[in-house]
């Protein structure tokens, strides 16, 4: 459900875009204002058409099933209230509204958005198949359309399953999915809510909005910006691509304990669920390298997979990460939530230990990660006001045994001119400089909602990590990089640091939180405006990547952190 | 000592509260204050004085004899009739307010609240109209009148709440005529209430509860 953020994974998309394309610089001029206005109008029209509809993250089928308005479970959706958390913990089986046979627990959502960065991107964002579908800036896009199954299945079994069509990547996939069986037991003074759970990404099953899958910001542009900070394993990279099974217990409405294990999905399975891996990177790298040698360049050939790297580099770099989990990776979660009166306070921790086979390349070992998160959330909700304060700190130890070995092997192969059966090294660039790195991600945000309809949020994020030239890039390396040929996928930092920080502001209007229109009272909608301000990216502010491009034919422009400042306008409609 | 201190503290609290709230009451003019007092009575005794069934039954005041009401309110103050709640209520009433209140309630005539068991109404009627001479139970109607409307100090019983009548008759001697006061009119009822058994009391109260 969470908007898929660009970048992030080592084999991810946007951050690997080479500085090739040259666009016309567009200032924030009258014309763009016109566009903003047009989008606003479109949003309003969309709302008008879907006027008798409800929202996506406040899943309207839940509203129908429980007879409750969105605001019972959400402050500003998808942020949950204490009741929303309990609804989820009870396995989506709470009823009280319409019966399934009267209205099936199906809901839909559309998310038209408009994205503008302070300075245009070097190249237009592209989808994995290589077709540009957007401009270097000022993109209006029907970002996402989703279909939900949300509700009770039978007895104590319930599910939330989301199928999403992502316009930016032009594919349909199984988005956040969470299936639960729950029951309650009393052992003397101990009251236990016990649940069994299957989901498709770490923290998709979590009920607090401090964990990554449902954390702030709740919606972000899929088309911007060109640079974004690296993310820990638990924050990105596994949603939709793993199967987690676990059990949890919620004791005395207070103490939450959960254990789960995440398993790998086969390529076939991923394909079936719509995860974009038409060509897994190992396949792409090797086969295309072979193809490049076997076929001469044919400009304009409709199927770019057969084009050599030099002519269509994004084809290679945009392949989805096909790193896989080598074995079952444990996940745990502990949280203590205390509710008193209108207040709710949670203090918790979680851990995720992915065992990653980098690029699905066998024979070089496995990367071991250890992500430990600490989080706290405070909520004050009364009849008119709702305040949510969230803070999350995730520290990740990366034991990059596998990647490091692959890097050594690559260097060795390149240096010695040795060819393997495909004639290429396991990874296109080099491995990390260090076998062991760390990465820390800190997020804090506050949301205020007035009368359940108007929300304002401020978020702060801060990423720090260990110095690694090969992983995060360095000035020398970048300077020599002319295009993507030598890209190791991460040419972002001039100083080899992941350190980034920024602020996010979000304002939204939710017209149907207290109940939708009479014809379709379960409708929900959110019209929002968010602005992301980058304080620093990859260890710097001005020319942080030590790289730049010529544009408008002559002047040399370097990348500055604030270039990525993003204005994002969205209309979120679910029904 | 401790108990005394606590009581003292509580008393102080009450007094402080009373003085604080007295201002509130006095702000309102005479007529308004009287109306506020009427509403105050009706909060418990029903919006038409028809009585109210709470944890304790609140008796019907509608149509009640003013003299009886006055006498009872005085009895609360003088602790001849023991009721801590009504003691507090009664002792803040000025004679003028009291007279106006009793007149006001006397003129109300809502239908009875009802809600009594109906199976023994016949027996109740017999006891009310004729008494049970063998059991030394005098006919109630002799004093309270054939329609149970009462007379002067003799209360109206018609339409009185079943649980209230039951409670009153059952605990007569423990609630009324307390403090060794000799001329309390409640003494007249002592023997009768003593002679009535629970079933008879219930029947009688049920009969009265439906009487208009």
């Amino acid at each position: 459900m969470d908007a898929r953020r660009t970048g992030g994974s080592r084999f991810g998309a946007a951050e690997t875009l080479p500085p090739l394309a040259e666009g016309r610089r567009r200032a924030f001029d009258a014309r763009s204002l016109l566009v903003v206005g047009a989008v606003g109008l479109t949003g309003a029209v969309t709302l008008g058409l879907a006027g008798f509809s409800s929202s996506a993250k406040a899943v309207p089928s839940f509203a129908r099933q429980t007879g409750q308005p969105c605001a019972t479970c959400h402050t500003a959706f998808p942020e949950l209230t204490p009741m929303g958390r309990r609804f989820k913990l009870n396995g989506y089986t709470i009823t009280g509204g319409t019966e399934p046979w009267e209205a099936p627990p199906i809901a839909a959502m559309v998310l038209p958005t408009f994205t503008k960065t302070k300075v245009q991107a070097d190249t237009p964002p592209t989808n994995p198949d290589g077709y540009p579908i957007a401009h270097v800036n000022d993109n209006f896009i029907m970002q996402q359309a989703s279909l939900f199954y949300g509700g009770k299945i039978f007895d104590n079994l319930g599910a939330l399953a989301q199928g999403t069509y992502d316009k930016a990547s032009q594919h349909t996939y199984l988005d956040n999915t969470d299936i639960r069986y729950t029951n309650t037991f009393n052992f003397g003074p101990l009251n236990a809510l016990v649940g069994l759970n299957a989901n498709n990404g770490p923290t998709v099953q979590d009920v607090w909005n401090t964990t990554p899958a449902w954390g702030f910001p709740y919606v972000a542009a899929t088309l911007a910006p060109a640079f974004s900070p690296p993310l820990t394993q638990v924050e990105n990279g596994w949603g939709g691509r793993t199967v987690g099974t676990g059990a949890y217990v919620f004791l005395n409405d207070m103490l939450y304990l959960e254990g789960a294990a995440y398993h790998n999905m086969s390529k076939g399975m991923l394909g079936t669920l719509g995860q974009t891996c038409p060509y897994n990177s190992d396949y792409i790298q090797n086969v295309n390298a072979w193809a490049a040698a076997a076929y001469p360049a044919v400009p304009g050939l409709p199927f770019p997979a057969w084009q050599p790297w030099s002519q269509n580099p994004q084809n290679y770099s945009l392949a989805c990460s096909s790193s896989s989990l080598a074995y079952a990776s444990p996940y745990w979660r502990v949280a203590l939530e205390k509710n008193w009166g209108e207040h709710s306070l949670m203090i918790g921790a979680f851990g995720f230990y992915p065992e990653v086979l980098p690029g699905r390349v066998m024979g070089y070992g496995v990367d071991h990660y250890r992500d430990i998160g600490w989080d706290a959330q405070y909520q004050w909700i009364n009849d008119v006001h709702a305040v949510t304060l969230k803070v999350t700190r995730i520290s990740e130890m990366q034991n990059l045994e596998g990647t490091f070995a692959q890097g050594i092997a690559t260097q060795f192969i390149n240096a010695m001119g040795i060819l393997n059966m495909y004639g290429v090294a396991p990874i296109p660039g080099n491995g990390p400089s260090n076998p062991i790195n760390y990465l820390m991600s800190f997020k804090a945000s506050g949301t205020y909602v007035w009368d359940r309809t108007i929300s304002g949020s401020i978020g702060y994020f801060h990423v720090t990590g260990s110095h690694d030239y090969w992983q995060y890039g360095n000035a020398l390396y970048n300077t020599f990089q002319t295009g993507a040929i030598y890209s190791n996928g991460n040419p972002s930092s001039a100083v080899g640091l992941p350190n980034s920080a920024g602020l996010i502001f979000d304002f939204a209007y939710m017209p149907f939180s207290k109940g939708g229109p009479e014809l379709w009272p379960w409708a929900n909608a959110k019209i929002g405006l968010s602005y992301t301000h980058y304080l620093s990216l990859y260890g710097g502010t001005a020319n942080f990547d030590g790289n730049g491009i010529y544009y408008n034919g002559s002047s040399w422009r370097t990348h500055t952190a604030t270039d990525n400042n993003t204005l994002f306008l969205y209309t979120w409609v679910a029904f | 000592m401790k108990v005394a201190c606590l009581r003292l503290a509580l008393l102080a609290a009450v007094l402080a509260l009373a003085s604080a709230t007295a201002g509130r009451a006095q702000e309102q003019g005479g007529r308004q204050a009287f109306e506020a007092k009427v509403v105050y009575c009706k909060t418990c005794h029903g919006l038409s004085g028809e009585g109210y069934r709470g944890y304790y039954p609140m008796p019907r005041l509608a149509g009640q004899q003013p003299k009886y009401l006055e006498n009872q309110l005085r009895a609360f103050i003088e602790r001849r009739r023991v009721n801590p709640v009504m003691f507090n209520v009664a002792h803040v009433l000025t004679p003028a307010t009291l007279a106006a209140l009793t007149a006001h309630f006397h003129n109300l005539n809502p239908p009875p609240l009802g809600g009594a068991p109906r199976d023994n109404v016949g027996l109740g009627r017999t006891i009310y109209e004729q008494g049970l001479p063998e059991a030394n139970i005098a006919a109630c109607s002799a004093c309270h009148g054939p329609e149970a409307k009462g007379h002067e100090e003799i209360p109206r019983l018609a339409g009185q709440l079943y649980p209230y009548t039951v409670k009153s008759l059952t605990y007569w001697g423990r609630e009324r005529g307390q403090g060794g006061v000799r001329d309390d009119t409640s003494a007249i009822m002592v023997v009768t209430t003593h002679n009535l058994d629970a079933a008879q009391i219930s029947a009688l109260a049920a009969y009265l509860a439906f009487l208009k």
Partner: protein
Amino acid sequence: MNAHTARSRIMKRTSAIVAVAVIAALAATPGQTQELPVRNCTWCHGPSAQGSGAAPRIAGQREQYLVSQLHAFHDRSRDNPASKQYMWGATARLSPEMARDFALYFSSLPAEAAEDGDTGLAALGKVIYEQGVPDANVVSCIVCHGPRGEGFEAIPRLGGMSHGYLKSRLEQWGQGYHASARPMPLVARTLSADEIEALASYLSFLK
């Protein structure tokens, strides 16, 4: 019989015992009848119905009161903000039979005192609760709600309800909400903010 078969027999027996125990435990789970989806209520009112947040304790509440309130939510005469938001929807499709069943079930659960009021105000609250403030036309609560706040028939049990809930109810009566719940609007109108605070504090400790 050799040692191996003996061990396997013991294991089989053990697993059989475990299975039986698990089934028995599941079967013995109280209150989870198919017909009565109590979790629709405990979702908000807390797993043992002791109340949570705006949702009051319903465990041990008087059955007739619960029924009457469910009806008041259903016909929307109880229109407090929280009622409107949560309970109107929750009772929109509630049948009278189910309302009765819920009331019977929750009234039979043991109640715990919230004890979340201001202990310093409890003594004053007790005085108001038991005696009212006749000068200010504040009636005594005890006459309807009983000496331990136990309630009577459709008059609710108040003892041990949470301070916040009691306070907001009294305040909202004064503001004109739930006007049909006579005589409470009359009662609440006469109470000052301090008196409400004291009453709610006292009652939260009353068992």
